[in-house]
Symmetry: C2
Subunit: 396 residues, 2 copies
């Protein structure tokens, strides 16, 4: 049995290099950008009116003129026009191109329009109400760096430079595997000694949230069948994520089966609660990683968030956002294992406070639905005072 | 022009009542539960072994016995057996049903197994290592209340009670509408006076993140066509979300067209920046809501987060989570408009700090990609000191 710290480092030491892939613009939301995005033209691409009003040349104002003959109307989407004389003006709409030989825009609120003439009611400032070509970004400027998460705002930037396809980091192909003869389908009515599958479903939901759409596989407690099915899964997927079959029972032959298939055990059993019988292994030659979590719902769910998500961030080359919570009660853990305590959080004036969720051990699925995250309490701690800060391992 | 506070209240005063719908279990992730979920049986459904070891009757220990004849092996998924004599024991695996006439489980680590006998190395406590039937929840107990968000953990609970289909709150059918002759498709190379559509794409990405998959529609600047297309969209969708065409320009006839179609204007123009020319209306008889945002990227994006998301929470009957940030610099706003300032946030020891993003006005799309959210500064504020707390209108 190894310490949590050692186990965690071991997991992080085995990221996969999955490469990149092209996806369509809207499919790229939530993914990690794998190319540098540069401005394909100036932003904005022309001197752009920011108001509805009239476009004039300021020299007319300097000469004392405050009446302008309207020679046309310019709207967004029209090609650039030319102001032929500084005695004239164009009506101009927001988003339209500033005409040549004009340099100032006066908004309607500061003019009176009558009989084809615009009369100013207020002296304008030279150059006002123009969003200058290239003032946001020059053509060729880097707009987005590699490695950033693609948010809705980023989608807007990608659209504006014409990216119908975007190069993003590939996500691992994951197979979520349940084990155990006691499990029946969600649609079935279990016999008294049976229970419905739930870990596989909550893992699938958690993965889908981060845009990984896993395949599901169930293994009955039969060593030969288990090995055959695992072999097939190892060939098809980058990551196997199992729950159950890794404790010390007679039918817990998952570790043996994996090792027989050439998956090298990195560790089995971690000095932590929940999640102690966690088995982690890799098949280096074929670039496969196996997370074999213990089958209790709280154990599986905790280990997914404690180990898999940081491993995925490492694999994608991104930093995980670290969020801290402040413990809102005093806790007396008293365990020689590293503890992952279930907490419920509450925001109060810029602070995120955490209270323990009173669960009933690692089989208590219902307590998980009340849990916002886990905090990691080092082995041996006997009392942690209210007010201490912890990193939150969020699970919502 | 009305105040921001008034506009906001007006929007919240017009939620839609969309009702509920059945979706499949995994489709329900991220949605709002619209039914009460009760335990269909006890949780756990039987007295369940929490260890791998042997099952005995404690009376044998009281009589001084520490050796038990092994009469069989029980694994998870096997029907309940009966211990015929307290001189005997079953080997029992984690998750298996406690046999009748057994009341205590001793883990392998505290026994020696030899020649069909188990010899205890440590005196057990009566009733140990059993997860008692109904100890988490009794059959009929409420596990999940209506109105809660369906997380991955909730999916686990729903699976365990056999919900292959889940009743959730309906989401609005949304049509995202872009306007303006200057806009071309993302796939096109714009002429000098044209730009690519971006608002529609970022709104679509933002909506998809919350599981609303909108339809996209573009309106060229032609009043007759605009009215015809809007009429069709009003018939098909619950919500129209437009960008552009609502300022004071000659081609900004969206408000007129909407009113001609029987959409009642609730307000037009709000004393705020960005997003001032926002038009909001409803068609009461047909339960339609129209958010017509100004066309500048920052205006559209801010108003979506400032108005639409709170409106959606009201429509779904849920509380929006309120997150606060602490201003990490002193700000001198000086405006008689309510300001929505773009901020970038950083977590430090349980606190979320915010610094302003220096953008170049409401047309600056690129600055949005650096923005984590907006803070609302009331009209008339001249100085806000570093350290003040603000509600964060998150946009990532």
């Amino acid at each position: 049995m190894i310490s949590f710290e050692e186990a965690f480092q071991n997991v992080l030491d085995h990221p996969l290099n999955l490469g990149n892939e092209q996806v369509t613009l809207l499919q790229s939301t939530g993914r990690i950008l794998a190319e540098v995005i540069k401005a394909d033209r100036d932003f904005p691409p022309f001197d752009r009116s920011t108001k509805d009003g009239i476009a004039i040349h300021f020299s007319a104002i300097e000469q004392g003129n405050d009446r302008f003959k309207i020679v046309g109307t310019l709207s967004a989407g029209m090609a650039q026009q030319t102001l032929s004389s500084d005695a004239n003006c164009f009506e101009i709409m927001t988003g339209a191109v500033l005409p040549k030989a004009a340099d100032t825009i006066v908004m309607y609120e500061e003019t009176a329009i009558k009989d084809g003439w615009a009369i100013l009611s207020k002296t304008p400032k030279k150059g006002q109400n123009i969003h200058r070509q290239g003032s946001d970004e020059k053509a060729g400027a880097v707009l987005l760096e590699k490695g950033r998460k693609i948010t809705a705002a980023v989608i807007g930037v990608l659209a504006s430079v014409g990216k119908t396809e975007v190069l993003v980091k590939k996500l691992p192909k994951v197979c979520v595997v349940s084990t155990g003869n006691e499990l029946v389908e969600v649609s079935e009515t279990p016999l008294p000694h049976q229970i419905r599958k739930s870990n596989m479903l909550s893992l699938t939901a958690a993965l889908e949230k981060i845009k990984i759409f896993p395949t599901q596989l169930h293994l009955a407690d039969d060593r030969t069948v288990v090995e055959k099915k695992l072999q097939k899964a190892l060939a098809e997927f980058d990551v196997l994520m199992l729950s159950g079959g890794v404790s010390k029972g007679k039918f817990d032959f998952i570790p043996d089966a994996l090792e027989a298939l050439g998956v090298e055990k990195i560790f089995h059993r971690v000095s932590q609660r929940p999640g102690k019988p966690f088995w982690f292994g890799i098949q280096i030659a074929h670039k496969k990683v196996v997370f074999s979590f213990p089958g209790n719902p709280v154990s599986t769910f905790a280990n997914y968030h404690v180990y898999f998500l940081p491993w995925l961030s490492k694999t994608l080359g991104i930093e995980m956002e670290k969020q801290h919570v402040i413990l809102d009660e005093t806790v007396q853990p008293q365990s020689n294992l590293t503890l992952f305590l279930q907490v419920r959080t509450e925001r109060r004036k810029g602070k995120l406070l955490a209270k323990l969720v009173q669960g009933n051990g690692s089989g208590d699925l219902v307590s998980l639905a009340k849990t916002d995250g886990f905090i990691c309490v080092p082995a041996g701690e006997t009392e942690i005072a209210k007010g201490n800060a912890f990193e939150l391992i969020s699970c919502v």
